[in-house]
Symmetry: D2
Subunit: 276 residues, 4 copies
């Protein structure tokens, strides 16, 4: 299958965007609680997928949980404790950029967790997730797949593109040599945690744009009928000429000019100006 072009992606994404907004409205109205986990290969496209979902939504409703490294105290607590603090209230959607499954992935492969810790984690997960689901939380678990060839391409892109350089960490270099170990870790994880109550969904992200569409479509299709009419909204005429900003204490800074056109950039340098 050929890689999806940017313009084609934009065209296909547009209706999904509408559906995502409808989904969020439904979540708000019904008080549903939605949790989506994003796991997968390094570089597979977790961040882009999360932005494609969260982008059109209200940031006060749709939260991205990207947890920092645990503190020393947190490391000794019940493993799930710091994740649980981010679970949704009624009407909220939480997208986990990596999740409790760290322990079965990077922590296992890179020996940040002991085999006992990993085994204990894999044993606890089904019971833990069942508690959430029985409580009514809608839980979706996505694992983003990518062949190593694509992964290598993307690593190189991150290396070369200053915009993406921050996505590279020393762990990534090490991870390159552990592609098979990650595969094995994923399979062990699936064997233990692909449960009826909380199944995994694998999505092919060799083409990231197509992957994003597949994932969003899948998510939307698995939610129930989400038709909720927009509430009618009173919007009477203003009743007077629209007003114009005027400034007393302080005026706006000069607007941004195309640097190509600006002959004398210095005199144009934006700064706060006292009102005349």
């Amino acid at each position: 299958m050929k890689r999806l072009k940017k313009s084609k992606f934009a065209k296909l994404y547009k209706p999904l965007e509408q559906d995502l907004v409808a989904m969020a409205r439904w979540v708000a109205k019904t008080g549903a609680r939605v949790v989506v986990l994003f796991e997968g290969r390094d570089t597979a496209g977790k961040g882009g997928s999360i932005q494609a979902i969260a982008g059109p939504l209200n940031p006060r409703q749709c939260h991205v949980a990207a947890l920092p490294r645990p503190t020393d105290a947190e490391k000794t607590q019940w493993y799930f404790q710091r994740y649980i603090a981010h679970l949704p209230s009624a009407g909220e959607i939480v997208l986990f950029d990596r999740s409790w499954y760290n322990r079965a992935g990077v922590e296992k492969v890179m020996d940040f967790a002991t085999p006992e810790q990993v085994a204990s984690f894999l044993k606890q997960v089904p019971a833990f997730e069942k508690l959430l689901i029985d409580d009514g939380i809608l839980l979706f678990k996505y694992w983003l797949c990518s062949d190593q060839e694509k992964q290598e391409d993307r690593f190189k892109e991150r290396l070369d593109d200053p915009l993406k350089r921050w996505k590279l960490s020393p762990i990534d270099t090490a991870a390159r040599q552990k592609y098979s170990e990650y595969t094995a870790a994923r399979e062990a994880m699936l064997a233990a945690t692909h449960t009826k109550a909380a199944p995994w969904t694998l999505v092919d992200f060799n083409d990231q744009r197509r992957g994003r569409l597949s994932l969003i479509r899948n998510l939307l299709d698995r939610l129930p009928d989400m038709t909720v009419a927009d509430e009618p909204f009173e919007f009477p005429p203003l009743g007077h000429e629209p007003l114009v900003e005027h400034y007393a204490a302080l005026k706006p800074i000069a607007p941004y000019h195309d640097p190509d056109k600006a002959k004398d950039n210095k005199s144009d340098k934006p700064k706060g100006q006292p009102a005349a």
Copy 2:
């Protein structure tokens, strides 16, 4: 000045994106702490500006603080307390989507706070912000301006565009009739809180694209020299043919197809499939 076209914006935004990434790298390396407040007219473009800044950055470094309504207990606490909980640690950037200035804006105009509370707030702010600044926090305060004509256009757009409908709240309708009160509130706020230590910057968002560029350029220009070389990154050859994903427990769902092309959409409906 004519409204900036989308393509032109994209072209002008690209170098700023690079500078933002460089800024974030500098923040990480030096342990700087950056706080940016976004205030302004309803519909002015706070959300879009925040996305334009946060978009290219690491979500683990650059946090968006969009606080929910305070709980009953929080309402009785020191007003700044719940905002303070979101202030940055070393190396972090926090973008406040609305901020403690709520009290001097919407809460004042809509009578959610008493005149005494507003007066007390305006008196506390300079001392509070000075504490942060003296502690070394880099604080930037932006107020996004917009004429009412544009505001009306955008309200109508939100009303008509299902994608933007969630941005409309009953408070917005009320706010339409209080454009002048908001102006007066802004000027009172500026009079009390446009301090030498923590000055305000007003940005004209009648053209949102241009406003975004002006704001980002201003922010970047006010930070010190942020040149930090990227650390060299070891990227040795892989040493073997790149590996290909293979699946045991579970296979990826079918990739997303263009619905226009898919004759039989049902048979194609994405779902997790057991591996053969």
Copy 3:
């Protein structure tokens, strides 16, 4: 059995105090995590038992979790979420003054929770507690029993003694008429949550002093051998005469005098005094 006298209690409590301190030292050294739940009849003596345990211990190690009423948002979250935030880190002891079992007790009897919520709670508890225990948390669940006669006596004492008046709430009055319902609720709770992994212990608190001793002794007996030698502590001679406080900026307030003796209490009123 006759009620234990105060002096007798003090004598019997002393060795337990030593054992509690030894237990805490063991917890600190081994990194154990201890959770003790206190539930039971109103007025049974939860508070006094908690003080008897926490009193001799380091408040930085032994925390009392007495949660306030949930916020509106918390009410919609996974029921256990706000309790989980208080679970111990390594080396800590947490005493829950009432706990997640609220739902099966007061919330059930007073109709603050629906029968469905109670049923769901009782179903979730064993799985939830098993997760904690399998993770290595040492969990102890105590239910303090008291005949209604004693309860009535204590209610009256609370009514009459200004020192104890704050312990009375309108819910208590209602609870008086629901003694049997509480009994039934307790039995339903035991039937569902007295598990092999996390058994309940009922303690007779008709005599509160004896109850406290029984509870503490039981707790200590169920922990493993806790012998940990105190680390030797370097305590060299001071090498000079001990120094005496002297004051420059401010002197201490006048010491407290027996009001019986103080003829002229006014002149003696304690206040900060500038140093001579």
Copy 4:
């Protein structure tokens, strides 16, 4: 002045206990917010004073804030941030067992903070505390004094008494040799932070019992008239014979017996027993 005897202390403490309870009732009714800081010499008696205040009060209203060591991230935040999280809501009393003044005391003397950090802290404190006070928080700052002779006695007691051994830390040994430095640090602290808005109160704790009484009396005297009538409380007759506990699923454990009397302690070992 002679050391106060235990029985005499108990007699003098009793009316203060009543006043503390009256104070707490007043705080609850008026929605006041009370913060009390406890600082002073090691061994001076902070813990005992806090217990003497918190003991008779509702733990849901009166919180003891004894913060653990800051995490690595917290160390880089605004110094006051983690303390601010513990400030009271309406109707609450917070007792700080050590406080933000750590920086001007132990951190300064033991070189855990740089001179710049200490200087910056001392400069920030008056402005910070004024914000709290202007917001209506009632702030009391106590520094507990003790001559070195008493301190040495108490260190030895902690060394010898297994019950108190946990109060000894290696820092204490070092602190013994720095009595004068602590004095100097206190005077610098007073010079910078004994403000009109938030004055310090020094209390002589050479006699700990008398010190406790002095401190509590001073605290009570500085609060306004706190007369609040107890609300009348409906307490109708029960209307039936009081009920007696009866057990189905599980019976209480055997009550605690005086070990002196128990010939055969083993057979008496408390444990949960299945109901007959």
